[in-house]
């Protein structure tokens, strides 16, 4: 059983001027226990609405939601103590100190001062915990939000766009934190619209667009599924001539810089060398085109008009 299970989740919102906006359109998702799970999609794909449904903040219009085995929203209270979360951005009282904000939350579940000490230390806020939150940088607020989410010592962390608005150093810090949390055996469910960012920390991913699941699986599987269509890059002395030679044999190719991109699967790479060698053109390099999750996303959505 997955720690997060969604079956046909639907949610739509009434528009001010009539009509309805479909935010989530029958989403199915199964998040396994442990590790980092990337929940990816462009802005407006329905990621935050899905997370709000998961946490009982909004009422689903249809479908079923289970969090750590408990049905949401009915039985959410039985599992919420094991779930730490940030939705969109960590929202805390700006005129209170970071520590006071944590104390207010900690009292709800009877979490003690030692746990607060531990989490502020872990996120690197020990020295600034007594300062008002309004004096914090965006990165510090984000880390305070993560500290708040960690206070319950959760087995499941739901982090919505945790790197949003952070500078490069902040992104690296958050990335390292997420990686270490996942390595501890917790399940870290990270949503992001920056697909390349999550690719670096996630073990599993799901990509959604317009409220629907596009693909899911381990990062390797997802990349491989699109990698087969991404083609090969070949370095040749005369790229234009090589493109012509390949097209004569029905293989599509195009010049990219001092190389050519050939639309064949990596397992068919031998055909390129064979065709070109027959005409006396010899390759100096042949490699599969490197794909990332962005490429996968664009590839998978180009025919459906789902890409942003």
């Amino acid at each position: 059983m997955g720690v997060i299970e969604l079956e046909g989740l639907r949610k739509d919102f009434r528009r001010l001027r009539g009509g309805r906006t479909i935010a989530v359109a029958g989403l199915d998702l199964d998040v396994p226990e442990g590790g980092v799970f990337g929940f990816l999609g462009p802005n407006g794909a329905g990621k935050t609405t899905t997370i709000r449904c998961l946490l009982g903040l909004v009422r689903p219009g249809g479908g079923r939601v289970h969090l750590l085995g408990a049905e949401v929203p009915g039985a959410l209270a039985t599992t919420i103590a094991k779930v730490g979360s940030i939705v969109e951005q960590p929202l805390l009282f700006p005129r209170l100190s970071g520590r006071r904000n944590l104390e207010i939350l900690a009292r709800i579940h009877g979490v003690g001062a030692l746990a607060i000490d531990a989490v502020v230390e872990r996120v690197g806020l020990a020295e600034r915990q007594g300062d008002m939150v309004k004096t914090y940088s965006l990165g510090m607020k984000q880390r305070l939000g993560i500290a708040a989410a960690l206070l319950k010592d959760p087995s499941l962390l739901i982090l919505d766009e945790p790197a949003n608005g952070l500078d490069p150093a902040g992104i690296v810090q958050v990335r390292e934190l997420i990686r270490s949390l996942g390595a501890e055996g917790r399940t870290v469910f990270v949503s992001s619209h920056i697909l390349a960012e999550v690719q670096q920390v996630a073990d599993q991913v799901a990509i959604i667009a317009r409220g629907r699941l596009i693909t899911s699986g381990s990062v390797r599987e997802v990349l491989a599924s699109a990698g087969s269509n991404a083609g090969m890059m070949a370095k040749v002395p005369e790229p234009t001539a090589a493109v012509l030679l390949l097209s004569e044999r029905g293989i599509r190719a195009q010049v990219q810089g001092d190389a050519i991109r050939v639309e064949v699967a990596p397992q068919d790479g031998a055909r390129i060398t064979e065709i070109l060698a027959e005409r006396g053109v010899f390759l100096s390099e042949l490699r599969p085109v490197a794909v990332d999750l962005e490429t996968v996303f664009l590839e998978l959505t180009k025919d459906e008009g789902l890409a942003p």
Binding site: F13, R52, L55, G56, L57, V58, R59, P73, L76, A77, I80, V83, S85, V87, E88, P90, L91, L92, F93, P94, R95, L96, R100, E103, I104, L105, A106, R107, I108, H109, G110, A148, K152
Partner: protein, 315 residues
């Protein structure tokens, strides 16, 4: 219990609470000091004795039915009627007298009650305005629990504030009387009267804080809460209730006035029609009915706020 403790810490951490208490304390100190400066010197023993004789004569007239008509008063006996309307402090000479303290508490009640309402709206709306309601709900998803704990804490904090402010007013006023006034001339049961007045003011302020909380919860912000609260007072209490007389029977402000003083109030229709319906004639608002009105308002608003909080998405 953890939620209540968290709510107490949240309320204690808000600047509005110490600001309200310190502001009130300084205001009282300044007000009493000015009062002491401008009041005439301590009245002599002879004047106090004369006042007491005058009071006893008027009280007897009242008890004999020569001052008021019991059947029009809304009271059940002359003893109760006269105890409320013929008071020793009304005959005492000018100056600072400890016997005036209950009247002063009555007079300042509207400020304490208004403060209670604003405190409720501010504490009730803080999470919505700061956006922290989302964070809170990820710790406690049972919204009825949050609302109940919050109502409990806001009511307690407001009651404590109202009692503290009145206690401070009593202490400062007594200090002023000690310097320039008299402790003589208090009616029988003065202390009980004083305590009952303070308790009534505290209770009404507490109930008004729940009205503020309800408005803030329905409007989902401090600004909405305060605006609804003040808007109601201005639009309904001051405008509509004077325009449509029947509304005056059910308004919160008039009911609060009667509940605080514990005295019957005659609501007069300023513009009666030639052939008035029963709801258009002058009306006696008795304390019991005033309390029922306030409680009904508070219960209705809390119910609407709780349903709204429970049903609406938090986005």
């Amino acid at each position: 219990m953890g939620l209540v403790r968290s709510e107490f810490l949240r309320a204690r951490s808000r600047r509005i609470v110490p600001l309200a208490i310190v502001g009130s304390a300084i205001g009282i100190l300044i007000g009493v000091t000015i009062g002491a400066i401008v009041s005439p010197p301590e009245p002599g023993q002879g004047r106090m004795e004369r006042a007491e004789r005058q009071y006893e004569r008027h009280l007897q007239d009242c008890l004999d039915g020569r001052s008021y008509r019991l059947e029009e008063s809304g009271y059940d006996s002359y003893e109760h009627l006269c105890a409320d309307f013929v008071r020793l402090e009304n005959f005492a000479p000018e100056g600072m007298k400890i016997g005036d303290l209950a009247s002063i508490l009555d007079g300042t009640a509207s400020l304490v009650i208004l403060l209670g309402g604003l405190l409720g709206a501010t504490l009730g709306g803080a999470d919505w305005s700061a956006g922290t309601m989302t964070t809170l709900l990820t710790w406690e998803p049972r919204r009825h629990r949050i609302f109940t704990a919050r109502a409990l804490v806001i009511a307690s904090v407001t009651l404590a504030m109202a009692v503290s402010v009145q206690f401070w007013l009593g202490v400062v006023f007594a200090g002023g009387v000690a310097i320039k006034g008299t402790f003589a001339g208090t009616a029988d049961g003065f202390a009980v009267d004083l305590l009952l007045t303070a308790a009534r003011v505290g209770a009404v302020a507490m109930l008004f804080s729940l009205v503020g909380l309800s408005f803030a919860t329905i409007g989902r912000s401090t600004v909405s809460g305060v605006s609804f609260f003040l808007g109601y007072l201005i639009l309904v209490e001051l405008f509509l209730a004077n325009l449509v007389f029947v509304l005056a029977r059910f308004t919160l402000g008039r009911a609060a006035g009667v509940a605080v003083t514990g005295k019957v109030q005659l609501l007069t229709n300023q513009n009666p029609p030639r052939n008035p319906r029963p709801d258009q004639v002058d009306f006696l608002l008795v304390p019991g009915r005033a309390w029922v009105s306030i409680l009904a308002w508070v219960a209705a608003l809390l119910a609407i706020a709780a349903i709204s909080f429970r049903q609406r998405d938090v986005t």
